[in-house]
Structures are given as C-alpha cells and as structure tokens.
C-alpha cells in the first residue's frame, strides 16, 4: 500500500539575487514501513524535498511551484494550515542534521519531549512526562526521569540526537524523515544512530525516508535508494540492485568516491567539478558538464527517468522495485567497474593535469 506519493514536485527559492531551482520535478513513492534513501552531494535538493513534504520550507523565499504530495491518498498541498499541523508530528515526523541547533537551547528536553505529546494527545502533563521517560528509555537513555530536567547543552552530541529521535517517534508517526541524521556526529556514534533508527522504525512499522550524501549509510539502512542530482532523481532501484548494477554516470561517480575496505585506496576517484548552483533554468542534462559519458544530445535534452528494462511492468515501491535511470548513455557493467567509458570515441582517461588537482582546493581558490 502506498503511504507517500510525491509527483513532479517543483520547488523554487526566490532570493534577491536570483531564482534557485531547487527541485525540478521529483517523483517517488514509498510503501508503508518501507525505507528509502535519498542520496546526493549537498545542494542537490534533497533537504528541500523533505521540507516540502511537511510544508516547512522557509517562507516566503521557498515555494512549491508544482506537483503533488499525497499521504495515504490525501493531497497535502493546499491543506489548511490547521490540518497540516495535525499531520506534522503524528503522521510525519522529522529528525534533522545537527541535534545541537535542532533543539531549543533554553528549554529542558523534558518540555521539548512533552510539548508535542500535549499538543496532539489528550493527556495530562504527568502522563506526558511518563511517556517521555519511556521514550528516552526506548532510545537508550536510561535515567530518563533525571534527564527530563536537563538542557540540550548538558548532553553529548549522540545523546542529543537520541533525544531528537525520541521526539520524532513520540507520536508513533507513519513516516520518519531523517535529514542527514549522522552527519554532525562523531564517526563512532554514527553507526549506533543508524542502528537505532533502523531498529525503532522496523519495530513500529514506521516508514523511513533517509536523506544523506553518504552511500555507506544508505547501504546499511535502506531497502530502496533514489539518487538525486541538481533537483532531479537520476536513478532509483532497490538498494542491493543499485549497488550491484549502477547505470547513471553520477551514481557510478558517487560509488567510486567512497572509501571501501575491500578496495585499493588508489581506486578512490572523486567526481570532478561541482553541482550547478541552480540559478539557471535547467536545459539539457544537468550532469553533462561533469559527465564522461555524455553525448551531443545531452547538452540539449534532459533525459527522463525511465525503466532500465523497457518490457517489464514498472514497480514503484518495495524490494522488487524497478530500476529506473535518467540517462541518454547509461554505463555498461564493465564500465562501472572501470569507472569510465570504455567504448570507442570517448576519452581514455580524465585529463591527468586536472585529475591531479584536488577539487576541494580548486573550489576554495575560486571562492
């Protein structure tokens, strides 16, 4: 059963300087209890997508300009604010990147835990506190009763994120949106946090939309993955399928740029260049400037997301979901392992002079 359905979502930001095309027609579906990873480098529109779903885009700059968002078949766009409010927290809950800035610094975590419960459920403050202690126990904070009176700055980073997760799950939502939930944490705590989210959502049957730039995190936690680039979904498939048989050059680049124990460090290959800043209306394939596989047509036509296997029926959710890719010239399996095109007419290797440049340095000196 489809829990969430996002169709052709378009989000733009209006700043003094320019219009930012943040999300340019994104479609995906999630079944109840499913875990979906939404992956790309920063600035690709993944966080904006999550804020658009809950309609918490920073007003008045960010606006949903088109598309549909359905939760259990009900359209969320255009819902009166009061009804949208009754959905937030109870049906869709969110965990954000930095638990320090995401918690109110001058409110005890007890009050921050109970305020959502008190706003949505007919309970006494005492009952809400009881529930808060329970929730803290659930996320692995033992002396909950004592912790209720503490302030965020008194907790460690990992503890704070546990509190955030407890807040998000306090009303047993159907969908948990976790926006880079581990990025701001120490590496040692990241795995714990992923396990915690995985375990708790599985227990409660909560669907989880995990937004991250880290393919490693996605592999650990999700059933299905969608890769975004410049406000488009460029490839989506069941997670094992995507890792085994990536087709889009960007996905291949992402996979090649993560360090893996089973590979030589020399095989680590960053994607050169950086994503477009979104100030121009997209024309052609947005990845073309960075793409080794590009064809002349890539400059003109933005490829549509289409099934890799044109004959089979398209399945949008679940572990058997179809492999969809938006590319005029997808990579062949042997090119995937090589990380570059091997066919006639394509350059043999990236310009060695450019490859020697650390892209981070290039960006720093340009800025």
């Amino acid at each position: 059963m489809t829990l969430l359905s996002v169709r052709d979502l378009v989000v733009r930001f209006q700043t003094h300087e320019a219009t930012i095309h943040a999300v340019n027609g994104v479609s995906f579906e999630m079944a109840a209890g499913e875990t979906l990873g939404l992956v790309c480098e920063s600035g690709c529109g993944k966080s904006v997508t999550s804020l658009a779903i809950t309609q918490l885009l920073p007003a008045p700059a960010g606006r949903i300009e088109g598309g549909e968002i359905l939760l259990n078949g009900r359209s969320l766009l255009g819902l009166p604010e009061a009804e949208m409010r009754s959905i937030r927290g109870t049906e869709i809950a969110m965990v954000f990147q930095d638990p320090l800035t995401s918690l109110n610094p001058v409110m005890t975590i007890g009050n921050q835990l109970t305020e959502g419960i008190l706003a949505h459920q007919d309970v006494t403050p005492a009952q809400a506190r009881e529930r808060a202690v329970e929730l803290l126990g659930m996320v692995g904070i033992a002396d909950g009763q004592k912790r209720l009176g503490t302030y965020p700055h008194q907790l460690s980073g990992g503890m704070r994120q546990r509190v955030m997760i407890a807040i998000a799950l306090s009303l047993k939502p159907k969908l948990l949106i976790a926006d880079e939930p581990t990025t701001a944490l120490d590496v040692t705590i990241q795995a714990q946090m992923i396990d915690l989210i995985k375990e708790l959502t599985a227990q409660a049957g909560t669907a989880a939309l995990l937004i991250t730039h880290d393919l490693g995190v996605v592999a650990d936690m999700t059933q299905r993955t969608a890769v975004m680039y410049a406000g488009y979904i460029v490839e989506t498939a069941a997670t094992p399928e995507l890792y085994a048989r990536p087709r889009h050059p960007y996905t291949i680049g992402l996979l090649n740029s993560i360090a893996r124990i089973d590979r030589e460090p020399a095989a680590l290959r960053p994607i050169e260049g950086s994503p477009p800043d979104g100030t121009h209306a997209p024309e052609g394939c947005p990845f073309a400037p960075r793409c080794a596989w590009r064809l002349p047509t890539c400059w003109r036509e933005n490829p549509l997301l289409a099934a890799d296997d044109p004959v089979a029926p398209v399945i949008t959710t679940g572990p058997a979901a179809s492999h969809l890719v938006a590319c005029h010239n997808p990579a062949t399996p042997d090119e995937v392992s090589a990380g570059r095109p091997l066919r006639q007419g394509f350059v043999a290797a990236p310009n060695p002079a450019l490859a020697a440049l650390n892209p981070a340095l290039a960006v720093a000196s340009a800025g």
């Binding site: 260049g273 007419g345 990236p350 310009n351 340009a366």
Partner: protein, 314 residues
C-alpha cells in the same frame, strides 16, 4: 536561456578535457563581492537618495563662499530678525545676518567635523585594534582594559571638561571628538583580527614567509573594510550630532561664526522659539537631514555589504 556553455558538440576527443569548471556554466562573468554590494546598495532607494543629498551638501559646503548669497557674518541693517522674504530666502537672524548663507557655511563646519573626527578615531582605532588582535597577550589585555575604560565614561562629559581648557575652535572640537570615540573601532578591528588571523589565507601567507606588517596590511585589513565603512558612516553622523549639541548648549562654536548647532541655539531663547521659528527650524532641519542621510547610507551599506548581518551580539 542559453546559459550552458557548449564547448564541444561531438563525442569527446582525447585532447578535450572532460572536466569543465562550473563557472563556465554561466555566460555572465561572476560578480565580485564589491560589485554585488554596489548592486544591492543601488537598489536601496532610501540609501541612494541619501547619497545624492550628502553629495549635494558636500558640494554646497565646498562652494559655500561662491554660491551663498551673502557672507555669513554680513549684517543687513534693514533686516533684523525678519521672516523669509525675497531678499533673504530663509529669513535673517536678530543681528541681520542671512540664515541661508549661514546654513551653507555651517555645512562646512558640520561635514568637516564629521570627516576629521572619524578620520582621527579610525586611525587610532585601527592601530590599537590591529595591535591587540594581532599581538594578543599582554598588548591585547592592556589595550582591552583601556578601551573598556574609555567606553565606560560618557564621552560627552570628558568633552565638556576639556573644551573650556583648550578652547572652542572647530579644529579643537574635531580633535576631542576624534580622540574619544575610537573604542568601538578598536573592538571591531580586534574582533575581526582574532577571527581572521587563524583563517587559511593568513596561515598560508605566514607559511610562505610574509612579514607581520605585510600580513596586516595586505591580508587582514582589506577584510575589515566593509564593517569599518559602515561604522565610519554612523560615527560621522554621531560626531556631527555631538558638535552641534555642544553649540546648542552654548559650549561649542558660537555666533557670529556660522555653524548649525550655534544657530539652533537660538531656540533656547523663548522669544526666538515662540516668535521667530524660521531662525531655529532651518538649522534644525539641516542637522536632521544631514544626519539622517548619512545614517541611511550607513544602513544601506551594512545591508549591501553583508545581507545576513543582523547586528545581534551573542
């Protein structure tokens, strides 16, 4: 929109580099921060109007002796305290001097007090702030305490005590105001230094063996220019307010010498206040317009130089 560059149309040949820098995606050359700031400033109508007004005031001040219809001290025996008329557009004061001409010459005093006072305290503030922020340690501690102390005493009280000692000439007033208002500049420069000195480019400069003086002048100070310009414009307005205020209290420049504050002092006389409003309304309006314009420019500059700045100390 044809924003995307098309360096090649066919499959890429071996000689064509694959990676195209993303700046090539735009045909428009990227604007420098200064150009961006100027663009934002130009869009601020209030600030632009104020800029025009201040430039006009400066021109009037410079050309006062040429364009003023009368000498500021010239006495018209037929016009003692007469309201505005054809011969005296803004009227004449009780000694028969032309109000408009006095305003034009008064602009000289006000604007030069503003410029000189700000110049003095920028010089002191930048020097002390750079020293404190760059050397740190004892230098910083001492300068910090002195700055806190000077900040704790209302500058006006010291000016009040000093002016009778050194005399009330415009130059003395400028110097005293300049000597007392540097703490804000010192704090700003010091703060910026502390945050900038650890940043990569300073480290890089030191890494290649640049000397302290060079690092301060070439690498750090240019980064403080924006906030300093804003502070200087507000400081200029404040200096003009203090100077005119001293004259209003009868402790600054006094008639027959032309100054806006000195002419505004006429309002402290009940007869002038109630019966001859043109005598004090004109200099009052001049002070208000000049100070408002300069502050609007400062406000516009702040918005333009740092669109995210909110002015909140945390």
């Amino acid at each position: 929109m044809t924003a995307i560059a098309r360096p090649d149309e066919g499959p890429i040949g071996p000689e064509v580099p694959i990676w195209q820098p993303t700046t090539d995606l735009s045909l428009r050359p990227p604007l420098s921060p200064r150009q961006l700031a100027w663009r934002r400033f130009r869009r601020n109508r209030l600030a632009m109007t104020s800029l025009v007004l201040v430039v006009a005031l400066a021109v009037i001040a410079i050309l006062a002796s040429v364009i003023a219809p009368y000498s500021p001290t010239e006495v018209d025996l037929k016009a003692f305290g007469k309201p505005p008329s054809l011969s005296h557009i803004l009227g004449s004061d009780r000694s028969g001097r032309d109000v408009l001409s006095r305003l034009m010459h008064g602009a000289r005093v006000s604007l030069s007090v503003g410029v000189v006072a700000v110049g003095i305290y920028l010089a002191i503030g930048i020097t002390l702030g750079s020293l404190a922020g760059y050397r740190r340690g004892w230098t910083d501690a001492i300068i910090g305490r002195v700055t806190d102390t000077v900040m704790a005493i209302p500058a006006l009280l010291i000016i009040l005590a000093v002016i009778p000692l050194i005399g009330r000439s415009p130059l003395n007033i400028m110097i005293v105001i300049g000597l007392l208002n540097w703490p804000a500049v010192t704090r700003l420069v010091r703060g910026e230094f502390l945050s900038l000195r650890e940043r990569e480019f300073t480290l890089a400069a030191r890494g290649i063996g640049a000397r302290d003086r060079r690092i301060i002048l070439r690498h750090i100070l240019p980064n403080v220019t924006g906030p300093l310009v804003v502070l200087a414009s507000f400081g200029m307005a404040e200096a003009m307010i203090i100077e005119a205020g001293l004259s209003v209290l009868g402790l600054g420049i006094q008639p027959p010498d032309a100054s806006w504050g000195g002419d505004l002092q006429a309002a402290t006389d009940v007869g002038v206040l109630t019966q001859k409003p043109w005598l004090w309304m004109a200099p009052g309006a001049a002070i208000a317009i000049a100070v408002l314009s300069i502050n609007f420019i400062g406000d516009g500059l702040r918005d333009a130089l740092d669109p995210r700045a909110t002015g909140v100390r945390r």
